[in-house]
């Protein structure tokens, strides 16, 4: 008589049935970056601050219209100011928080060590930066649209007495709103690129804010010809070429450029650091 003993053969789990059938795709990487962006409290703080700053500034400008109109020194200048510019007036402050958001998106990974997990999952590396750029551009566009809508709504009662409520059927209005959005998306991408190159949060934020805000603010006082020309090619003054800011705004410095040139200059600030950042990300040790 033979006895058959049933021996439980241990089947190697992963050979029999992979628990996970997974492949990386760009869409997946994008979704990962999207979750990353939205799962940080700092993102929500930064976005809320952006909306508040944009709204607050436009509200303050709108509230001071009465005083400005009454003052014989500034009254005539008011004619040059459009309602759309008042509504978008907070974009320079919004630029600060958006720049911080863009930089932290990459430098936060380097400072915490997360970058090693990220690059282990996506060893080809470049798609990570591309996905981050898309995610931050999308979230910036959404928050600037929201900030503009809120600003439009809250300033309407103050603009109405001056006949300055932006006409939504006028191309000029949408040029200003669209130009603001374009500029802030570019600012976000610029600081993302700088952050990828520098890796340090403090360094990246310092460089981004210097180029975006400090340089144009200080260099306007230098009257050397070549400096004046150089200033026109800084991002904020260049934005004046298509935003057409008031005479006293920093954007006005860029009147020397055509709107198309202004758009291109601003685009270059977004693209060049990103391309350089991609090269650095691929080449350097994580």
């Amino acid at each position: 008589m033979t006895t058959t003993v049933a021996v439980a053969t241990a089947v190697p789990a992963h050979e029999a049935r992979p628990a996970v059938l997974a492949r990386p795709t760009f869409l997946g990487i994008l979704r990962g970056e999207w979750i990353k962006l939205l799962s940080l409290r700092s993102t929500w703080w930064t976005l809320a601050a952006t909306v508040l700053l944009m709204t607050g500034v436009s509200l303050a400008v709108a509230a001071s219209l009465d005083t400005v109109a009454a003052d014989p020194a500034t009254g005539p200048g008011l004619a040059a100011l459009t309602g759309a510019e008042v509504v978008s007036g907070g974009f320079q402050l919004g630029m600060l928080t958006i720049a911080v958001l863009g930089a932290l998106l990459m430098t936060g990974e380097f400072s915490t060590g997360m970058i090693r997990s990220t690059l282990a999952a996506v060893p080809t590396r470049t798609p990570v930066l591309a996905a981050k750029a898309i995610a931050v551009a999308a979230v910036t566009a959404a928050v600037v649209a929201l900030g503009t809508a809120v600003s439009y709504t809250v300033t309407m009662p103050l603009l109405a007495p001056h006949g300055m409520v932006p006409a939504l059927d006028e191309l000029r209005t949408w040029q200003v709103f669209g130009g603001t959005l374009y500029f802030l998306v570019a600012a976000a991408l610029f600081s993302l690129g700088v952050g990828t190159l520098l890796r340090s949060s403090a360094g990246a934020i310092t460089v981004a804010l210097t180029v975006l805000l400090l340089l144009p603010s200080f260099l306007v006082f230098v009257t050397l010809d070549w400096v004046e020309t150089a200033v026109e090619y800084l991002p904020l003054p260049a934005s004046g070429a298509f935003l057409g800011g008031g005479e006293d705004s920093l954007s006005a410095v860029g009147d020397g450029l055509t709107p198309a040139t202004g758009l291109l200059v601003v685009a270059a600030y977004a693209v060049v650091p990103l391309v350089a950042g991609a090269a650095a990300l691929r080449r350097r040790d994580a």
Binding site: A10, P12, A13, H14, E15, P18, A19, V20, A22, R23, P24, T25, G28, I29, R31, G32, E33, W34, I35, K36, S39, L40, R41, S42, G108, E109, T112, G113, M114, I115, R116, S117, L119, A120, A121, V122, P123, T124, R283, D285, A286
Partner: protein, 312 residues
Amino acid sequence: MIEAHGLTKRYGDKTAVDDITFTIAPGSGTGFLGPNGAGKSTTMRMIMGLDRPTSGTVTVNGKPYAQHRAPLSEVGALLDAKAVHTGRSARSHLRTMAATHNVPASRVDEVIEMTGLATVAGKRVGGFSLGMGQRLGIASAMLGDPRTLILDEPVNGLDPEGVQWVRRLVRSLADEGRTVFLSSHLMSEMAQTADQLLVIGRGRIIAAGRVQEVIDSVSGAAVRVRTPRAAELAELVRGDDVVVTSPEPGTLEVRGIDAARVGDIACGSGIALHELSPRSASLEEAYMSLTQDAVEYRSTTTSPAAPKGANR
């Protein structure tokens, strides 16, 4: 299967990993043992394509890591416990990793369950203890159900229960036919967790093989003999392959022949023995002896004044 050929990494004039060649076989747990700063983490980062080798190559299952179509299913890595954004919850972290490879959410829950993180999965990683960080790192390594696992100091910071858990995990993963490569600076830990050892010191491989082989290769067994006629006996047993030392008067340590032979020789000459005991080197002794050589080697080349045993 992990294969390294002439793998070298230099940072400036400091050589972190110095021309190492090794093969890690599948279906076993291989311990990567060495003191802090020996080059373990650097080697692991090079395997994962995070650091670029100065020269040499390293492949995982026949290809450089970055060239695999599904990297997370090929290799899961715990590179350091806190390769995680501190502002994110454990679950969010795992979801971001899972998303890249289109790993289903159910798998995220599975690895959370598997690593015992269920109760803290919603908490931000910044508040995690080292042990919880390790578990999260292991959870991310397991996400893609990889064929190869690379774990850098996985038991670091774990409580005894956690250490046991890692040992069982490594054992069961290896038994499933996977390649498990884990590092530690603790010889005793490796002896209990790994089948094979790869010992690194100052960027060079100084020993490799099965755990017992490595221990034996270092010092070999010694026989301790106590006798009133020590000098006489020493003359009798000493030979080409036999080394006799005298740690203290009346005591000998004999290497090269076993206790029975020493006893026979003593008996043949009528020498009374008060003690005759075989001694195998302990794990720690073997390790110290291995790595001290490496330290010594380095000290004499970089700073001759450094005392023996100085770390750098």
